[in-house]
Symmetry: C2
Subunit: 285 residues, 2 copies
């Protein structure tokens, strides 16, 4: 297994490779896609893809196109989330958000283009020749399912609809499992799929991912609440608004412990994921 920053380096190199060239009629579109995709970010999702591939004995090269596709999906979701009709956020990772820099129309299309490019990368000849037809289809199908109606986008609409309502913890969990969890689960499962892993391994990775995904979202809400920035005022649907910080942190700890319990099937390779889960649970930004 490599370490986290080695994975990040590999991902950043390959994201660049998988972006379309910034030239011709589509130059502005390429620039807008690149702007958000290469503007930093923790790269947690694609790191999970690479790490689970290695943990299942797979070749990292087989997981790289999938890891890059997943980060493109994450970027697209951020660009659309920031638009004025959604969260209306002017800043993303400390710089002007995509629509502030390129205008709303181009930002909308850059999001659409990143979403589509993710599938293009997974389904292109280079990838299918590398990993074979079965892995290609299983990965693409898992991704489509988890980011669509029954996953990320479904969660976003549920989030919008319930943001003015009083929801209980169980419903909030359900919404966050879709909105945030589904892509983290897909990233983890697809890493296993790239390694031709067993069903047991794929399911274990999914359980781990679901637990850390929810813990991650609760920590996000706690940190947002602590920083008392404008976001928490706008986004009503937050753990911070229904739970006190101490209680939220307890739940994060419990979820992290649960996540770690799912890891036995990965033998010594479990250490990487165990460390990652604890680090995410104790982060302060």
């Amino acid at each position: 297994m490599h370490n986290f920053s080695e994975y990040v380096e590999l991902i950043n190199e390959n994201l660049f490779k998988y972006l379309p060239k910034s030239e011709g009629l589509q130059k502005t579109l390429a620039d807008a896609m690149k702007y958000t995709l290469l503007a930093g970010g923790k790269r947690i999702r694609p790191v999970l893809t690479l790490a689970f591939c290695e943990a299942c004995g797979g070749d990292l090269n087989n997981a790289l196109p999938f890891a890059c596709a997943i980060e493109m999906i994450h970027s697209y979701s951020l660009i659309h989330d920031d638009l004025p009709c959604m969260d209306n956020d002017d800043l993303r990772r400390g710089i002007p958000s995509n629509h502030v820099k390129f205008g709303e129309a181009t930002a909308l299309l850059a999001g659409d283009a990143l979403l589509t490019r993710a599938f293009e990368i997974i389904l292109c000849n280079e990838t299918t020749n590398l990993v074979g037809a079965k892995i290609t289809i299983d990965a693409a199908s898992c991704l489509a399912r988890n980011i669509g109606f029954y996953g990320m986008i479904g969660g976003q609409v549920a989030d919008l609809e319930n943001s003015e309502k009083n929801v209980n913890c169980s419903k909030l969990n359900e919404i966050h499992n879709l909105k945030t969890g589904a892509l983290i689960v897909a990233a983890s499962k697809i890493g296993c799929i790239a390694a031709n892993a067993s069903k047991v391994q794929i399911e274990a990775a999914a359980e781990y991912a679901e637990s850390i995904g929810l813990a991650f979202q609760i920590m996000d809400d706690v940190l947002d609440g602590d920083s008392k920035d404008k976001k928490i005022e706008k986004r009503k649907l937050s753990y911070a608004s229904i739970l006190e910080t101490r209680k939220s942190k307890e739940i994060v700890k419990k979820l992290t412990q649960e996540a770690i319990k799912s890891l036995n099937v990965f033998g010594d390779n479990r250490n990487f994921f165990e460390n990652l889960a604890w680090q995410l649970s104790k982060r302060d930004k």
Copy 2:
């Protein structure tokens, strides 16, 4: 070969089947997706998919998931096109457009969900078991390529960027081949792919589709110009603004003749496509 309205009936039945159920947390999202997808429309693209599949000796059932996916892509593009930051159209097919009915945020997400659902349908077990892995990957890959950076979305950004400029006919053709043509080409090629057609057939279908796609767009501009509605005032990048109607209609005729020349490889089945090309070239709405 079936006739046009028989194909449309099949498509409408199956679109309904492939839409997610309108229930649970995602009910509003399902309603918004359905609203635009089932609100009429000529269904030209999915009809091309079914017709080319039959013309190449394929089983219609194999082409149906692809045809439905392509119509979902068309619907998503209309929803995003109508948004205030794009064309800002309040009406679509005579009824309030998606964002007027459901709000901008839900419309944005309904577009994203339809785009994602298209890939989900193509890549699901039901489809891959029906058509096999090779056809699944070839169809999904062709779709991703033609609706992304190097296709539809690339064309939309180029359209935006050039709408205030004086462009010549050749550049306008290039933009429209991306913006409108690429999806029509994908629809036609994927019909052939579903029938396991030869490369020669796939290329012939693509040539036909590119010609009728461009003719279709020029006729759109002529009809928009004739009706002098608000759209032509907003969208500057139009054949109507650089060519007089008589000249535009001549080009449409020439493109239609060219389209028909590509059809020899389909033997007697060419009649369907020949009639369709002439009908599209002479339409008045």
